[in-house]
Structure formats: C-alpha cells, structure tokens
Symmetry: C2
DNA sequence: CGAGGGTTTGACAGATTTCAAACGACGTGG
DNA sequence: CCACGTCGTTTGAAATCTGTCAAACCCTCG
C-alpha cells in the first residue's frame, strides 16, 4: 500500500511539523528528550474511528497531520460535533481515564501519543507542559463559546458563512496568501459533517451553500473546491463584526 | 442600605465559603498567604454589569457568592449566554488584557479579585494554582461542549428540561437532598435569561415551561419556585441518557 | 392608584426539517 | 467496456417547529 509510505513521519521532535504549536511547544530540549522517550505514533485512515465515547483511554495525543472530529451522540442518533482537531491540537484529558467524545479521523491522520500515566507524572514535573496545555485549553474554551453563539443565534445561512469563514481564515493563515485578494481552499468536511457541526440537516447545508453560490458570495468548482472573491462580504454574511477587519 | 450589611464577607481565606473549590483550592497555607496579600473583594447588585466585552480588564476573580452570566452579543442585538458563573467559578484569563464577554450580575454578587499582574507572577511560581486552573478550565470546556449539543440538536422542550435538570442537580448537590425524593429549587434566571442561555425566545421558554407543568413533569408555585416530582422523568424529557442513572 | 418589569397566551408567518426522488462520480465485477 | 451499486449531493413539496407581533395578566413598588 502506498499509504504506509505516504504516512511516514519523522521520529525526531526537533523537526516535527507541530513542534512550535503543540502541547510541547514551550519545552526545553531536555524536557523534549523525556517526552521523546514516551511518545509513539499512530496512524488512522480517513473514516476510521480513533476512539468511542466511554472507551477506556490510556493515552493522550497531539494531532501531527490530518483532521479529526469530536462528536457527541444522543440515544436516538442525533449527533453534534463539539470540536475539530487540527494539526497541533491536543486530545484527551489528564486525570480522566475514559473518552468523553467520539473521535473520528475525517482525513488520513497521524497522532503523536503519550501513555497517560507517564505523561501525567512528566506534567507534574514540567511546568512548561502544563502552562502550554492551560493556554491551549483556554483557547479551545473560547472557540467553543464562539460556536455556542453560532449554534444558538445564527440563521442557517449565517452558520454556513461562519464555517466557511473559519476554514478560509485557517487556510489563508497556513498558505500565507499575503495579498488581500481572493481566498481559495478545499472543504475538508462532507455536507453531513458540516451539518453536524452547525446543528443543521445536510439538506439545509446543501441549500444554503447553493444560495451563497447563486448570490456570488462563494464560487464552487466541483463540490469541495471553494473560492471566496470577497472575504469582507463573507464575514458580513456570517453576521460577524466587520469593524477592525483590516487584518481580518 | 441593608445591602452593605448583607454582603459583608469574611476577609479570611481560611473560612472562605469557596476555599475548597475555587482556583485556590489546592494552595498550601503559605501560598494562601501570598494570595491573601493581593486579593480584594468587589460587590455588585443584581442587574449590574461587572464588565463589558472589549473593556480593559486588569484583574481576574472568583465568584464568592451570587450568580453572574457570560454573554456574547451580535451587532443587531441577538445575544447568547455562553457561561454561567456560580460560586467558586473563575473569571478572566491570565495573559489577556481585555474582557472577551459581557459579564452581568444576575443576583447580588461578591467576587474575590486579584490584580492580573501579581496573580500571573504568583501563578508562575505556584504550580498548585495553575494546576487547579487547568482542571477548572477543562471542566468548563466539557460543560461548553455539553451545551453545544443542547443548542445544536435539542428541541425547545428538551432544552428547557436540560436547563432545569442542570439547575436541579446543582441545587440538590448543595442541599444534599439525600433521599431520592422530590427536588425543589428556585430558578435564578428570568425567562429572558433562560432564552439567552438556550438559544430560544422568551415566549417559547414560557410556553415550554407551561407545557412541562401541564404534563406534570414539574410543579410550579409562583413563577420561580419549582418542584420536580420525578427526576428520572425530567432527564427523559431532556433527552439525556438515563442509563446508569442510579446516582443521576 | 398607576407604572413598570416579568410573564403568559394567541394568531400568524416563516424558517428549517422531513420525506422522497434523482443526480453525478467512483469503483467493482461481469 | 459497460452495467451496477454506493456514497455524497442536490432539489422538490409538504409538514412542523419556533419566531414574531400583539395583547393582556400578575405582582411589586412608589
């Protein structure tokens, strides 16, 4: 299989692609050495589950590459996505031994795992890890609260625009599109996953995407390739404050 | 004013009502001494704002008594509550100097404040504070994600039942109603605040509360005093898993 | 007594969901 | 090579939930 080759990952923390953003970001080289002793990589193919809610979970992990979703499910099958794990994001909770959410790889995924017990003892002796984890958790809390506004108060059209804006901004941050020009990206989510993120049905997602396309807010090539001619317009549609949007 | 007397608070950390649950919970007595040096109390009357989103914020604080709400507001006035601050909850973010949300006292409120700069340096030298703050932040993140499911996927009736269940459980934890019998509490929120929490209009909140009352899920005396004859039934209405609900 | 805040209730409109059907892309097997 | 099934997606029509607008109620307070 080609996959084995394409997923080959560096075993060296020093040239890890998420070295400066993950939970280990603030570690000194000696601290990194100790992390390196207890780390191991796991790979998942697109669509595979990483863990199910309630399962015993004896590790924590960072996403090295790929995307995973965190979802909650009700007894009758309704599901809500509660988080999106992107490269450098952290998964698992020190001090808890079962998974709180379903985690599924939506693309091919590589995770840098640490067994929980050694990680916890390491964390107790390494303030830099705990500091960084606190920082990341506070960021996630802000993101979750931002999303509560989207879920609770925005219309279907605004929800779609909000999601597109987030993905667009994340992508433009990576690609460094410098110029204020058009933004182009691929949707990493199916219509159904978008619906689960937004608290909508997939039909509504499809309809609203078509509407935004008809109104020229976005341009579609195929189902997944999106061009945003005017980011300000998209943010307007999202209902976001455009004040101080110089930097967007 | 009577208020001044009724809000009198202890100045001693050692007999503080939130001593064992707040951000200082894990501190040793010497660490507590240092916190005591930089702390000061602030009192707010019901309805008063604590801070507005975007304002400069040079302190962090713990709620000692009373309830405050965290809300986000869109340009056109739509608002969504994104958190409820109860006694022992923490407000503010080390490392950030402006408020991210509107904070309003919904009841008379007492906060134990620390100026941000001294608190941050103290935190850097006092792992117990950072550890506890991480724990509390992770709990808040879980609560926020739980709420995302409520906002995104539950019906109006389920939303109301979910909110009542949360308040009921919090209260029964305090009052230690030991017996599995009826649970009684007062709603600390107006219909409008409940609507802001649940992503509904106040009219829908009112209607659904009436419906739950008509169906015998709850019993109302006046507008605020609620009795839950059967907690299992309420949880069912909330769409929550009732499995393993022995302890609820 | 009157005013105001919080609440309830009604009628209607509208947004989103539900149910159904059909499309296009893709890979498999005949 | 093409038929076929699957998966993700689009589109339509009807049903339903929730929001909107309006009026009235209750209670407290001045």
């Amino acid at each position: 299989m080609l996959r084995e080759r394409s997923l080959a990952v560096s075993q060296e923390c020093s040239d890890c692609p998420i070295r400066h953003r993950a939970v280990c970001a603030r570690c000194e080289s000696d601290e990194l050495d100790r992390l390196e002793e207890i780390k191991y990589y796991r790979k998942f193919e697109a669509g595979q589950p990483v863990i199910w809610s309630g399962d015993r979970m004896d590790f924590v992990a960072s996403v090295v590459s790929g995307i995973a979703t965190l979802t909650q499910t009700m007894e009758d099958g309704r599901t809500q996505m509660v988080g999106l794990l992107l490269p450098s994001d952290f998964m698992g909770r020190p001090g808890r031994d079962t998974a709180a959410y379903d985690v599924v790889a939506t693309t091919d995924l590589v995770m840098c795992c640490f067994r929980k017990a050694p990680f916890e003892t390491l964390m107790a002796n390494t303030p830099h890890i705990a500091q960084r984890l606190l920082e990341m958790t506070l960021d996630e809390l802000d993101a979750a609260r931002e999303w509560m506004l989207v879920l609770g108060r925005k219309t279907a059209r605004e929800k779609i625009a909000s999601l597109l804006a987030i993905i667009a901004q994340r992508d433009s941050a990576l690609h460094k599109t410098s110029g204020s020009g058009r933004i182009v990206f691929d949707l990493p989510l199916t219509r159904e996953a978008m619906a689960d993120y937004l608290g909508l049905t997939l039909e509504t997602v499809s309809r609203q995407i078509s509407a935004l396309k008809k109104d020229g807010v976005i341009v579609l090539e195929g189902k997944r390739h999106v061009t945003v001619p005017d980011m300000g317009r998209l943010l307007e549609e999202a209902g976001d404050d455009t004040d101080g949007g110089i930097l967007a």
